[in-house]
Amino acid sequence: MLFALIVLHAVCGTVALVGGRRLGRSAWLVGGCAPAAAMVWSVVDRPSLIDDGVQQTVEWVPALGLTLDLRADAFSALMLLLVSGVGTAVFVYGWHYFGRSTIGPRVAGLLTLFAGAMFGVVVADNVLALFVFWELTSITSYLLIGAKDDEREARAAAQHALLVTGLGGLVMLAGLVLLGQEAGTYRISEMLGADLSGSAVSGAVVLILIGAFTKSAQYPFHSWLPGAMVAPTPISAYLHSAAMVKLGVYLVARLAPVVADIGVWRPLLVTVGLLTMIAGGLRALRPFDLKQLLAFGTISQLGFLIVLFGIGHPEATAAGCALLLAHGLFKAALFMVVGIVDHETHTRDVRQLPSLEHGWTPAKVVAVISAASMAGVPPLAGFIAKEKAYEAFVHGSGGDRLVLVAIALGSVLTMAYSLRFITSLLRPDAISPSDSPRAPADHSPRRMFLAPAGVLTILTAVLGVAPGLWSGVVDRAARALDPQSSASLKLWHGFNTALVLSLATWVAGALVFALRRPLSVVQNRLAPPVTGDHVYGAIVRGVPRFARRLTAVVQPGSLPLYAGVILLTAATAPLIALASGDAWSGWPEFVGDPAHLPIAALLIVGALAATVARRRFAAVILLGIVGYGMALLFVIQGAPDLALTQFGVETLFVVVFLLVMRRLPDRFERRDSRLGRGARLAAAIGFGAFVSLVALVAASSRTSPSVSQTMPEAAYTDGFGSNVVNVILVDIRGLDTLGEITVLVAAGIGVAALARSGRRTRRDPARAIDTPTGEVSA
């Protein structure tokens, strides 16, 4: 069933993409089938999912032992409910949001593919399969952020997201492979029993966490997420609040049982998570753009989740599971409301927002309830999750108390930015006073447009009032991660420390919001001058600049220099090996065969003559003579295949040289200084001497019998041929030959393309207009 659902996503997504404009608005129906089916399945099959989990193994390439291992346990079920549930809501929302927009069908198709990739990550049991699905979410996210591809800003933001999350994914792959090698298995379910320790595992943990941090927009990799808000709001509501950015949290939660005891795991996660929670909360107090506010709020909440899952506390894990669901519900609803405001009033900037009066009440109710859940106000789902988190740390050690203080501080900020969000919608003048009274909005949203956000908000409220509904699911999910953890979610725990903390948080949060003017002055003073965006920009600009400078140094365009470097390297590198080893075994026999003497004389005379020839044509012919002389040597040594090849190559070589030489002057130029000629002479003599030396040593340093001794027989029995050379080429090393002829084909295409491109710039009048000189040929 798991695999079938992934395939269903792929098929629905592809149909929506291929159908494109022909499908029009119904692309949302086609695409929405997949997440809806996933949601129905995870609800209907919930008992078996959360009790024993579901496993499936798909044989892929049996000969190589490649299988696709899928496994869904109770925690996967929680993620699946979130991803498919919010996904279905987003598809309904997107149907209204995009209307008859031309990019609608493409967005629908990509969203479906994205949902499939999310599904894959959550149910993958093999870390490599997990990586593949993980990168698929990065790629679909890239395409979705850049959905409005005619906007430069959208393209830049998409690239930013892809570079950061893609690079993080590659780093994570290195960590996953390292972890898999150390554990001796790539299956997450089998890693649990492995005995993991040592510096290699620590390294793997750090690499994997970098991947998780980039995906979940943790400091210092957070800067792509606010930029990604240029995407149409259905995309932000799904990818950048409820689903994709939770993947980093998912990975941390999933691997925590395996590697939580490795030294770096907890300190790194708790530090980064708390830093992100507080810094994100502070940044969320400043923007006027409502989506930006929500984006920084999301960053802050993701930091909170990372802390909860990273600290390895059974109760904190349970609180994390609850918050995962609660956050998905309220944040997606809030994004949807902002999208509706943006859609109806064409702005989401508080400073330009019209006053939302007539018919906006349902939207405002949704926003207030969801934001209250975000701030942790009872009786809503967010309150229950946050209360659970406080409780987890209240009874802990001294270190836990410290974390609790930081979390409370983050929650104060959450309360403050929630208030800022609500006030922005209800009374925008309180945030940004304007001189002229705000005009009322032209029209209000239709009921159906608001329905998905409404359903999510109702869920937020119902889950808050009746915690028993989700207590079981959260409890099982937490147990799947940590058998000691248990979550009995309750609305009223009695008057305890956690409740006092909550009360203090609300009061302090309200205070921070009330004092926003003086605080913002302080904040502007204290704000670091360099933001993540600046760093990213500097890197993106710096790398090509560095590459250009490096290229200018190593590729100056001088052929003699290239040749000199290559020859000297070839001459000296083997010399080091010769000097360090005891390879010299004396001179070989000086003249092996009298027939060698005339050929040697021919070779030497031809080579020397080529160096002193004044005309290029003569030099080429002389080089050809050297080549034929080599072929003769092969003949005498009993290598007819080699000789034939050498003859053929030499002939072609001379012809091709002649073709090239039509472009060059007839005679060599002699503009070299005495010094330059001396250097060339030294390089040539040095190269010749060293190559001769290496040849002498190599010929006499055999230590074991040659592998070619058994080949003549093997050639006939295995390769059905008595020409060993040929059998090696077509059978024993047949794949090499296949690779080589592929290179030949590529070279042929390259030669043809080069010649064509040279011609077109000269001949094609249409292109001539574009040339910098601006001359137009007649």
């Binding site: 008595s722 040929n726 080429l729 084909v745 042929g748 295409i749 030669v751």
Partner: protein
């Protein structure tokens, strides 16, 4: 148009056919005697190159009649499909097979999949040289035209 040497022209014509036959011989004999697809292809290419030196591109095109890139493509397809076919028949790609028949008049005939693979190599080598010859010729022609055309870039 460059001057042609009648002696060269005629000699090349005579040698050309012999060289092509030789290349085919090397191609098919290669599995058991000196030769093979690569050598055969080189000899055929050298023959074509001689033809080119003697008569220019038109002479070569007159002999070949199909676009050079077709040689490259067909050659690669032939070799790759041999590799895939052997992969289907056994676990390893390019684990060659042999087939023997007894045909009337000719006697025993043995055909190995290696020969088919070699035909692909032969075609690729010939195609590469033809592509290079054509490309150089086209570029040279373009350059000459640009030199003559007073408005063109120098």
């Amino acid at each position: 148009m460059r001057l042609r040497s009648i002696i060269l022209d005629t000699t090349v014509r005579v040698v050309f056919d012999a060289a092509l036959m030789l290349s085919l011989y090397f191609l098919f004999a290669g599995h058991n005697q000196p030769g093979g697809g690569f050598v055969g292809g080189l000899i055929a290419a050298a023959a074509l190159a001689l033809r080119y030196v003697a008569g220019g591109l038109s002479a070569v095109i007159g002999v070949v009649r199909v676009p050079p890139r077709l040689f490259l493509g067909i050659g690669l397809v032939v070799s790759c499909s041999t590799a895939l076919w052997t992969l289907r028949a056994s676990a390893e790609p390019l684990d060659q097979r042999a087939f023997e028949w007894t045909m009337p008049l000719i006697g025993d005939v043995k055909l190995t999949t290696a020969t088919i693979f070699d035909i692909g190599v032969y075609l690729v080598v010939v195609g590469l040289v033809l592509t290079a010859l054509t490309a150089f010729e086209e570029q040279a022609a373009a350059r000459t035209a640009a030199d003559i055309d007073p408005d063109g870039e120098p």
